[in-house]
Symmetry: C2
Subunit: 406 residues, 2 copies
């Protein structure tokens, strides 16, 4: 690691110039640093002659969130590039291509996706992505099934698990999602107007029991290689294309955590529409689109996962035991619903918020969106172990939203 | 590993002679190889002048079981010595002291326990060990709690888990305990007289579902650092002393697997008394001793585990969430009961049997012991997810035994 130093734009261009298969001789390379500077440098390098372009992502040895800074391993760049390569093999076309990875600089060079938008931003702007449910359900089914004991050689999986031990990034999740929102922690951040909601979380024993059980699974249940941070800010999208990015939180954990992350961020979008759609019919139409997308994601995921199991299952007893497959998928749905709730709550009272809610300019509307997000999150967490069908999640969202209006 | 070769007795003595802190100058060293030659060489080296002695255990690069031979990693010697050292720190006095470990020879030098007997043999001979429940419950509570996310720094645990990835040894368990007994596998081995029992296992769907769920936990539930093979053949014992040996199957798995291993092997002893106690009062007295030992092990384990949690718990939410502790221990009991059943069944129809049953000379008595073991094992597996108390295990054993007599 002694060669490590944060690159400047000139150095980034020098490295890019060595990539003869992307940039021909005579390329006129331009470089812009487009990262937010909190965790990584991100260089966009393009050739004004050929039009070719790449992204160079370099991990920084620290994390900055809301002004605080703490050291963070550069090994996450290795984990991210290895996870991207693995996901690219299992779900071709649904992640950026990785051209190279240099461990000494913690530097990954990959496909430029500037023609895509970040899905969180796209949704704020009212974008609809009719292929998304199909794409993401394929990504989830392929990446989760084939890294689990159901679809991967079970001894190879143990070796792979060793490569993805990721203590520092897991700790961020363990603290910020599965602990701090449920106590008066310094890292918490919420509008003073909803202090009553935060304090209610700190004293809700039934909720805390469910969160403790979900936390336990996050800590111990090495079910499959997760993306680990699969929110709508980790997805580049167009109406035709979906690209999952930034798997630096990858580790072997409970599958429902990835599926729940997607659903949770569609539901923060759902709750945020209080402001973003001025008229109620437009709001209800967009919300209906989001709910049908959520139902589609689960339904398609389940169908694809079952088909993979039928065709590629490697565990004799898991395939032979009557009722096991149904039991497995029921538990996976329950985990998904529980993690969905956890990931909604942390976005309102925890350290890291979401733009679709935080950027609502109208104070009263923002507060209503925050309260609705919390109400849905709590209802889903309390539902989780009793759920039998994705329709119960949809019904819970609708019922909670209807109650919130009164 | 290039220096590796199986030692002969002369070489073993040469190595022992370098241990100046054990053997003084002028020691007259004698060496006997006392292993069974299936997995390891075991040299007993003693000084006829001072009376000092040691054990040198060297892993062989293959496993031999019932005439078959397959290659096996020498890395298991590292895992065994590291696990012994870890257990010795957490449960002082309950494992042999490790003097040294040489990775190039896959050689561990440790305390000689020749004044102890193997517990399986001791039980066959009718030995009673009044301190055993206290000792083993301490060993279990200390070694499991302090390597779990409840009692160990949760980031350090992930690093430690990486050190104990143990694919080859885990595969032996996955195949021989959690798969083969439930299908017509080549490795299975059973007396032809009980073929009906074996075939019943191969078609019992409700049983297979439970075993599939327990298998899944063995594959995915990285709860604590297990011994991994904690049967009565892995315990050296006297009425005053208990020493757990041979943790080469150590890995991070479900705690109930270790506790269930102990109970299962006390129950194979229970079932075997059909022969070993000629008169019924003696048999019933010994069986009552075994059942009270089992109840004591769980009861003391639970009390010690709860006390450690109260005093040394590191997980804020796990300690704060109302009902979580009770839920955790209830699930742990349920796992224990399930794994107890799995470990009984494999000893009758699987590859590796137990001496207390296989060595019953009377054919009819042996068959009755085998059928009783299977009946108890199946009942416990079917009980597991419904169990609320260790008394349900004891009652199930008694009821099943009473039915078997009819």
């Amino acid at each position: 690691m002694s060669a490590y130093h944060p690159l400047n734009e000139t150095e980034a261009i020098e490295i890019a110039r060595t990539m003869k298969n992307v940039f021909p001789a005579g390329a006129e390379l331009n470089c812009r640093e487009i990262g937010d500077g909190n965790l990584n440098l991100v260089f966009h390098i393009s050739d004004s002659v050929s039009g070719s372009s790449i992204i160079m992502k370099q991990a920084l040895p620290y994390a900055k969130v809301v002004g605080e800074s703490w050291p963070l391993t550069l090994d996450r760049a290795r984990i991210e590039s290895e996870a991207l390569i693995q996901e690219g093999k299992l779900a071709p076309g649904l992640v950026p291509n990785v051209y190279s990875y240099d461990p000494s600089l913690a530097l990954t060079i990959m496909e430029d996706l500037s023609d895509h938008v970040i899905m969180r931003r796209g949704l704020i702007e009212g974008g609809r992505y009719p292929l998304f449910a199909g794409h993401i359900s394929t990504f989830l089914a392929q990446s989760l099934f084939f890294t689990s004991d159901l679809g991967m050689n079970q001894q190879d999986k143990k070796i792979r698990l060793r490569d993805f031990i990721n203590p520092e990034l897991c700790k961020i999740t363990e603290d910020l999602i599965f602990d701090h929102p449920y106590t008066d922690a310094d890292t918490n951040s919420f509008d003073e107007a909803i202090r009553d909601e935060a304090e209610a979380l700190w004293s809700d024993g039934a909720l805390q029991l469910e969160v403790a059980l979900l936390r336990e699974k996050f800590l111990t249940h090495a079910q499959a290689l997760l993306h680990g941070d699969l929110h709508t800010g980790s997805i580049f999208i167009t109406p035709e294309s979906t690209k999952v990015i930034d798997p630096e939180f990858a580790y072997f954990g409970p599958m429902g955590f990835d599926i729940g992350a997607i659903i949770a961020n569609l539901l923060t979008s759902f709750a945020s529409r209080i402001h973003w759609d001025a008229d109620e019919p437009a709001r209800e139409a967009f919300r209906a689109y989001l709910l049908s997308t959520i139902a589609e994601i689960w339904t398609q995921f389940e169908a694809k996962f079952r088909a993979l199991w039928d065709q590629h299952g490697v565990d004799r007893l898991a395939s032979a035991a009557p009722g096991y497959k149904d039991d497995y998928l029921r538990r996976l749905l329950q985990d998904t619903i529980g993690y969905t709730g956890c990931k909604m709550i942390r976005r309102i009272v925890g350290l890291a918020h979401v733009a679709e809610i935080d950027s609502i300019p109208d104070t009263a509307a923002r507060e209503r969106a925050q309260r609705l997000t919390l109400a849905i999150g709590k209802s889903l967490i309390k539902l989780n172990r009793n759920a039998q069908s994705i329709h119960q999640l949809i019904d819970t969202v609708k019922t909670t939203t209807a109650s919130a209006k009164k």
